[in-house]
């Protein structure tokens, strides 16, 4: 009598699942640790915006001599963070967008058409991998070129024996 167990995916034991849940929780705690720290938020938000003076640099990295924009923007960012309360990161960024326009954000947002910017590279990677796998398979399945009469290609153990000899001779 045949069983169907072989076609099912193995289910992790309860202990393994608990370990995985604990690991995920620990990871989440570490990832979000310090997220509310004003200094960390200042550094994070300051690196998510561009200086608007035309130097083309991230806000906190602009050291443009005599830059009128970056000092003002940094003060505004600090003031926004000092407000605290409901003034979350997204609202702060939104405020900067309203004041300076959408180009103040250093990377496309994950909304609307801007999502395409993020999706496309990974889509190309996925398609590329699929294409490469297809190519490799087609190469593997390609018929051998026709051989002249009397010539045979060694296969299996015979081929392994040749390889062993070759490795022994070159020792590499």
């Amino acid at each position: 009598m045949k069983t169907v167990a072989s076609t099912q995916y193995p289910v992790p034991s309860r202990a393994v699942r608990r370990w995985l849940q604990a690991a995920a929780l620990a990871l989440a705690v570490f990832v979000f640790m310090g997220a509310g720290d004003p200094d960390v938020r200042f550094k994070d938000l300051g690196h998510r915006m561009m200086c608007t003076c035309g130097c083309g640099q991230v806000l906190l990295e602009c050291n443009h001599v005599g830059c009128q924009s970056s000092d003002k923007m940094r003060d505004e960012l600090q003031a926004a963070l000092d407000k605290g309360g409901s003034n979350n990161d997204d609202l702060i960024l939104q405020g900067f967008v309203q004041e300076y326009g959408p180009t103040v954000i250093a990377a496309p947002t994950a909304t609307g058409f801007n999502r395409v910017a993020w999706i496309m590279p990974f889509l190309v990677l996925a398609l590329g991998i699929a294409f490469a796998v297809h190519i490799v398979r087609s190469w593997k399945n390609r018929p051998e070129p026709a051989l002249a009469d009397g010539i045979t290609i060694p296969q299996g153990s015979e081929l392994d024996e040749f390889r062993r000899k070759a490795r022994k001779e070159t020792d590499l």
Partner: protein
């Protein structure tokens, strides 16, 4: 104009000679070749005249007026040639003519293939000379009264590296025209075999080396001049130089599959075409101003010319790729998924995905404006988040690839060769955690840890390959291990030179992975004021100012202490260039090799400006760990390329006592 006439003749006469096979057309072809050689002389003369005009302060020439002044130091007057739009296009043209000159002198290697390549190079030459004559004339004359002095060179360009960075980059950009010309020529004439690859192999490697040096010098220039403490800002023009480098690197790898196995022929053609087109795109981005960039010191309307040329080239390449595709069929099949061939395929894939990501990110603002009606910024956060994971995968392949054999690799040999590097790299990761790096706390720490582990894997792989091969040679020749490894390297320079380049790449990555651990402090400093940053104490000894005919400057004298002991004095500076009326900071950098060696850190000081009320300087101090390894990595990459260019030595002569009948061919698998 003379050069344009000569190169146009070279193109047209050469073209006609290629398609008519009689004695008269052979003579016509020879005149075309000589016209190509004469083109070099004419363009060289034009370049010399422009440089002499700069040295003579001939401000009747508009280009000299806009890019030089009387008090500009001599080295920068020489660099005036490539400091502006028209001059740099002339320089492009000169380098192309120089490459063409060498190629046309060596035509006897394969006359017909060289004739095709010569005609294709002449067509590119005609394009640049057309622009120089009709859109961006370097000898345009000033209108009105003759000015007493020029407006000076852009202060950002007044730095020693600017004398060598653009020529290196241009040698790389322009150099890819040569393998492109040979590839297209071979495709058009359905050239039998892979000889064209062997002919162009050295051209391609030299060109790739120039481009590598150019890209890294650009990064170093940004680090040492722009004063923001970083070396790569994902600026569109920086990206433009990286894209052909990525496709060129992919080509250097995949072309080996064509040489050794007769595979990937269409792919290699496409890669070299893409590399050339991306080089042109880089020049277009630098010169057109279509995308805003910190390199926006040379913008004009020549973008249309470039777009037309790029479109035309793309059409020609695509046409011949399709028309002659039957000529590019693979000769062998793949035997195993675990083989050098498949690793090259995936290495190519990842390089191209990184290239696509950069291209996509660079042009997305234009696409966004077209679709949404407004531009968005695609800055460092985007590139770091998207390109870094793919680059880490690429690093993994760099480590694993050399361990795979051509055709098929047994799992046992992979395990045997992989064990030592894998243990070593995991130990590096463990040590990082032991020393306080918490990869789970921040994505940047996670990437840094992964990059460290994979870089170590690459380094240990390279070392194990050298040691393993060296031991074999040592056993057969009774040399010590070091001599045996040098001998081994000389036996197969291409393979082991490539490994040295991989070693350099790993060091570059190690230099980059220090970024998340950077520190910075900004402070107004009076006499005796201190900044504490990391293990360093910076004490302001004094601040002062100076003046010379070219610029006036302010600078601070900062003593650097570590563990209570003074280790150096640094002089961060801010200049004000008189001719251009522009200010410029000049950071000072101290790499702590003497104190740290492996964990070397740059102490990086910037004179931000002066508090007008107190008159005291504002100093920004950065600690940038591991950055010096980037520049050391570059030197090793260049050394590896030079090794790879050296011809192989003769076979190892096995000692008489060794019980082997024939001389062993060691290290011939690369």
């Amino acid at each position: 104009m003379l050069a344009l006439g000569l190169s146009a003749y070279c193109f047209l006469a050469g073209f006609v000679a290629l398609f008519r096979r009689d004695a008269a057309s052979a003579r016509l072809g020879e005149t075309a070749r000589r016209a190509g050689i004469a083109t070099f002389a004419a363009v060289l003369l034009a370049g010399i005249v422009l440089v002499v005009a700069a040295f003579n302060d001939d401000f009747s020439i508009a280009y000299i007026f806009h890019h030089s002044n009387r008090d500009l130091p001599a080295a920068y007057k020489f660099a005036v040639l490539w400091s502006g739009q028209e001059g740099s296009l002339l320089f492009w043209s000169l380098l192309l003519a120089g490459y063409g000159f060498v190629l046309r002198l060596r035509y006897k290697t394969d006359q017909r293939l060289f004739a095709y390549a010569s005609v294709i190079i002449a067509s590119v030459q005609v394009f640049f000379l057309l622009i120089l004559n009709f859109a961006a004339h370097p000898f345009a004359v000033m209108q009105g009264a003759l000015p007493a002095d020029g407006t000076g060179l852009n202060p950002l360009l007044q730095y020693p590296e600017m004398v060598i960075h653009p020529p290196m980059l241009y040698l790389g950009y322009v150099g890819f025209t040569v393998p492109f010309a040979f590839a297209l020529g071979a495709l058009i004439m359905k050239y039998p075999g892979e000889k064209w690859i062997q002919i162009t192999r050295r051209w391609t490697m030299v060109t790739w080396c120039f481009l590598t040096v150019g890209v890294f010098l650009g990064a170093h220039w940004a680090y040492a001049v722009l004063g923001w403490g970083g070396y790569w800002g994902w600026d569109p023009v920086e990206n433009a130089s990286l894209m052909p480098w990525l496709t060129g690197t992919a080509f250097l790898h995949s072309v080996m599959m064509q040489e050794k196995r007769g595979m990937l022929k269409v792919w290699n053609m496409s890669l070299i075409f893409a590399t050339f087109l991306l080089s042109m795109l880089g020049t277009f981005l630098t010169r057109s101003g279509v995308i805003s960039s910190v390199h926006a010191f040379a913008q004009s309307s020549i973008g249309t010319w470039f777009l037309v040329f790029i479109g035309l080239t793309l059409a020609v390449c695509t046409f011949f790729l399709i028309a002659n595709r039957s000529h590019l069929k693979s000769e062998h099949k793949l035997e195993s998924l675990v083989s050098r061939e498949s690793s090259f395929l995936f290495n190519n894939l990842l390089l191209l995905v990184v290239c696509f990501t950069i291209l996509w990110g660079t042009f997305f603002p234009i696409l966004s404006e077209f679709v949404q009606g407004h531009k968005v910024t695609v800055g460092p956060p985007f590139f770091n988040r998207v390109a870094i994971p793919v680059a880490l995968l690429l690093l993994l392949l760099t480590a694993v690839g050399p361990l795979l054999a051509w055709r098929k690799t047994s799992v046992e040999s992979l395990k045997r060769n992989f064990l030592f590097p894998a243990i070593g790299s995991l130990a590096v990761g463990g040590m990082m955690i032991l020393f306080g790096v918490r990869p789970w706390e921040d994505p940047s720490y996670f990437y840094a840890t992964m990059a460290a582990i994979l870089s170590a894997l690459v380094i240990f792989t390279v070392i194990s390959e050298f040691v393993r091969g060296g031991r074999v040679i040592a056993g057969k020749t009774q040399q010590n291990l070091l001599s045996a490894m040098i001998h081994l390297c000389h036996r197969n320079t291409r393979r082991y030179g490539g490994y040295i380049v991989h070693f350099g790449v790993a060091l570059v990555i190690i230099g980059i992975l220090g970024t998340p651990f950077n520190k910075e402090v900004e402070k107004e400093m009076g006499f005796g004021d201190k900044i504490n940053i990391g293990p360093y104490t910076l004490v302001c000894q004094s601040f002062t100012q100076d003046d010379n005919p070219n610029y006036a400057n302010e600078w601070a004298i900062i003593n650097v202490f570590r563990g209570g002991k003074q280790i150096t004095t640094m002089y961060p500076e801010r200049r004000f260039y008189k001719a251009s009326q522009q200010p410029q900071t000049l950071p000072r950098i101290y790499p702590s090799f003497r104190e740290d060696l492996f964990l070397v850190t740059d102490v990086y000081l910037v004179y931000e400006g002066k508090n007008e009320t107190t008159g005291r300087p504002i100093i920004k101090a950065h600690l940038n760990p591991l950055v010096p390894w980037i520049w050391i990595g570059l030197i090793i990459m260049v050394f590896g390329t030079i090794v790879a260019l050296v011809p192989n030595a003769a076979a190892v002569q096995v000692a008489a006592t060794t019980p082997v009948r024939a001389p062993a061919q060691v290290g011939a698998g690369g």
